[in-house]
């Protein structure tokens, strides 16, 4: 079991999370916990970078099924991020993905409040351009 503590964070400005080969279903509740625990007034940037192995399209998707392996529960992450965006006008949430346009639209669909607030930034890398 692994714990990443973000409790005492009076000066935290940037939180960058790079994810590879982690089942995305497990991320939303963990991110929600981490984001809601950040009390730093300086927190203005959260980056979620997903490498290729984390974001495969769902080959078995039928009508009504999710088209990617993104899990449910991202709405609470969207809410937690929005709470930070309300506190700071310059707060930005950057999602970096290695995939195509369809997934970019899916990401926007997962974070509607951040999208409408103008705080959601998405950058896309071509497969094989893994910058690790």
């Amino acid at each position: 079991m692994l714990n990443i503590g973000l409790g005492c964070n009076g000066k935290l400005r940037r939180f960058e999370l790079d994810v590879d080969f982690v089942e995305l279903d497990v991320l939303p509740p963990l991110l929600h916990k981490a984001l809601t625990s950040i009390s730093s007034p300086h927190f203005s940037y959260f980056s979620l970078r997903l490498f290729q192995g984390s974001l495969e399209p769902n080959p078995d998707a039928g009508p009504g099924d999710r088209k990617t392996l993104w899990g449910a529960g991202w709405n609470v992450v969207d809410e937690a991020l929005y709470a930070h965006a309300v506190r700071r006008d310059d707060f930005r949430f950057m999602v970096q993905i290695v995939t195509g346009e369809s997934t970019e639209a899916a990401v926007e669909g997962l974070f509607p409040r951040m999208k409408s607030n103008g705080s959601l930034l998405i950058t896309r890398q071509q497969p094989g351009c893994d910058s690790r």
């Binding site: 692994l2 990443i4 503590g5 973000l6 409790g7 000066k11 935290l12 982690v22 963990l30 916990k33």
Partner: protein, 274 residues
């Protein structure tokens, strides 16, 4: 030239490389003012890496120009001819991965470099080099602020920390994939069993990059005065990560975590600490 040195330095910083090179040929004063801007990084390889040479190779790179290649002995010759008197070499990369290990004993030739603030070493065998530290690395001690050790070979975490503690002005520290001698997986023994505990407090206030073991993280936590990094970048499979972040909690501004699914960390949990 009649102008204060800092003013000349300020003006020079806005010139492109070709202009700097031209300026450096006009007078001794402009040579010393432009030299730090022309040459910045020094990359050192060992043994037959370039052009089939059988001895140590030194590559002296210009900031924006292609690299020129010299033999390692260039350093000594450069020192004898006074070319290093202006102290323009600030960063040194040492790559000890390839070649005959005996060639690494030529490292004392680096003694000519007395103003280096950034040192990156790949595949340093600490077990061999700690006993001859004064001969190989003492010239870096007064000025070194940033140290990167990648794939360092050591018997335990203590050796690594002992090496780090020899540089009392360190602000930045990067420890990437330390391993046991012979390339085996790094297994840390309980710290401070094999030697005296360091007494001096290191600054360690800027950046920490740590891809290592829990015992190494614990050694960092046990340093005299602790740690207070402003930026931490690490892999999440460290069990001591929460403690590490807690130690830096009053200063931490930037946190980068790389999560990956592996046999070492089957379950990932992000949780606040209280």
């Amino acid at each position: 030239m009649g102008l204060p040195r800092e003013l000349i330095d300020g003006i020079m910083r806005f010139n492109d490389l070709q202009t700097l090179k031209s300026c450096s040929l006009t007078s001794k004063a402009l040579y010393s003012a432009t030299r730090p801007l022309i040459h910045r990084r020094m990359v050192l390889g060992v043994g037959s890496l370039l052009r089939g040479c059988s001895y140590e190779i030194l590559s002296l790179e210009t900031v924006r120009d292609q690299a020129d290649v010299f033999h390692a002995r260039y350093l000594s010759e450069a020192e004898e001819r006074g070319l290093l008197r202006y102290g323009y070499v600030r960063e040194v990369d040492l790559d000890l991965r390839a070649g005959n290990p005996e060639n690494t004993l030529q490292l004392p030739q680096l003694r000519a470099l007395g103003t280096v603030d950034t040192l990156r070493i790949q595949s340093l065998d600490l077990h061999r080099f700690l006993p001859i530290f004064p001969r190989c690395f003492s010239q870096f001690v007064p000025t070194l602020r940033s140290l990167t050790l990648e794939d360092a070979q050591c018997k335990n975490a203590h050796q690594l920390i002992e090496f780090i503690c020899r540089f009392p002005h360190l602000d930045d520290l990067a420890l990437i994939n330390p391993c046991g001698s012979g390339g085996s997986a790094f297994v840390g023994t309980p710290p401070w069993l094999e030697g005296p505990r360091p007494q001096r407090r290191l600054p360690l206030t800027c950046h920490l990059v740590l891809n290592g073991t829990d015992s190494l993280a614990q050694c960092l936590l046990d340093l005299p005065g602790g740690i207070c990094f402003r930026s931490v970048s690490t892999r999440s499979c460290l069990k001591n990560l929460a403690k590490l972040l807690a130690a830096c909690s009053s200063t931490l501004e930037i946190l980068n975590i790389f999560c990956f699914e592996s046999s070492e960390c089957g379950t990932l949990t992000l949780a606040p600490i209280h």
